[in-house]
Point group: C2
DNA sequence: TGGCTATTGATATGTTATAACATTAACTGT
DNA sequence: ACAGTTAATGTTATAACATATCAATAGCCA
């Protein structure tokens, strides 16, 4: 299942690996990983939490990479369209993809206490949801699957 | 599956039925379906589309039921908590529950062309997400399952 | 080089949501 | 009926999230 976010892992490697894959994907597809875009991806990758556009902007601003909302939203738009990041609809926030290169249908586990987000790659809903969609004659283009709750560590804290 | 929203149905009955169930639920649970709340539910029920909080507010305002944002947000909060309405996270909008009384884990089919929304259910299909959550030690409290695409009628229009 | 397109800079505005506090209505027990 | 309590509403202000628009610049390709 490869759920990333709550389990400890070699994060330095995780970051370097994702950046490398992103660079490769841009090279292969004629996309430009400009300074703002690259730095935005790095900031999102820094830890496995969702960041609001204005949170990202605040960091970019301290680094002289832009101070107006469109800077952040353009970078996020690029990252999302390229598949390097996902929007968490339930939070109006953004997170780096944890499975770059093999991300088909992401689903997210969102801790309401510490705001950490784990990305898993499941086809939930796809079976059941596809059936429902077929019955209704609906053509699915994108799905949003998000679960809110408590991560292992926050369950302990509130126990 | 009882997917409601795209298929024609006796909507007058659908509305009356839902209002009756809501009244009963309030009576049974000591909740108060005040004028603003009741009218908000009626407005959401008017058709199977998601309405923004400010859209709802605009209607309420023309009827003298309140003109400030908190009026709409309080009513929506009540309706959502009571299970009479759902928030569509992908749209930041709200819709009346189409399965009042038997709604466990709703999922939505959202047409990006006409904005109609069908409500279906994923109760039987949450195996994979539950598995992923278990593996990660995550305790799910709420799920968001939304599919964006084209409804039958809009597929024809763009064909 | 010149023309084209993608990207960035900058200002303004639109949209969604909540904080905070005063007021009024409804319920509870006496 | 009365005070004490809680739930709901009125009102103002502001926070948080997102986009429209247009000018300036950088990369790219005849
Ligand atoms: Zn990592
Ligand atoms: Zn992903
Ligand atoms: Zn947590
Ligand atoms: Zn429902």
């Amino acid at each position: 299942m490869n759920t990333i976010g709550f389990a400890p892992h070699d994060h330095g490697n995780c970051v370097a690996d994702t950046l490398r894959k992103a660079e490769q994907h841009c090279a292969d597809n004629g996309l430009r990983l400009t300074p703002v875009r690259r730095r935005s991806l790095e900031i999102l990758l820094a830890d496995h939490r969702a960041l609001g556009a204005y949170d990202l902007l605040a960091v970019l601003a301290t680094e002289g990479l832009g101070a107006q909302p469109p800077v952040a939203y353009r970078a996020l738009d690029f990252l999302v369209k390229a598949g390097f990041a996902h929007k968490i609809e339930a939070l109006n926030a953004y997170i780096a993809c944890a499975h770059l290169g093999e991300c088909q249908m992401p689903a997210f586990l969102i801790c309401r206490a510490c705001n950490s987000v784990a990305e898993t790659d499941t086809t939930l809903g796809r079976g059941r949801l596809n059936d429902a969609a077929s019955d209704a004659g609906f053509r699915i283009e994108r799905t949003v699957v998000e679960a809110e709750g408590l991560c292992p560590s926050c369950q302990k804290d509130t126990a």
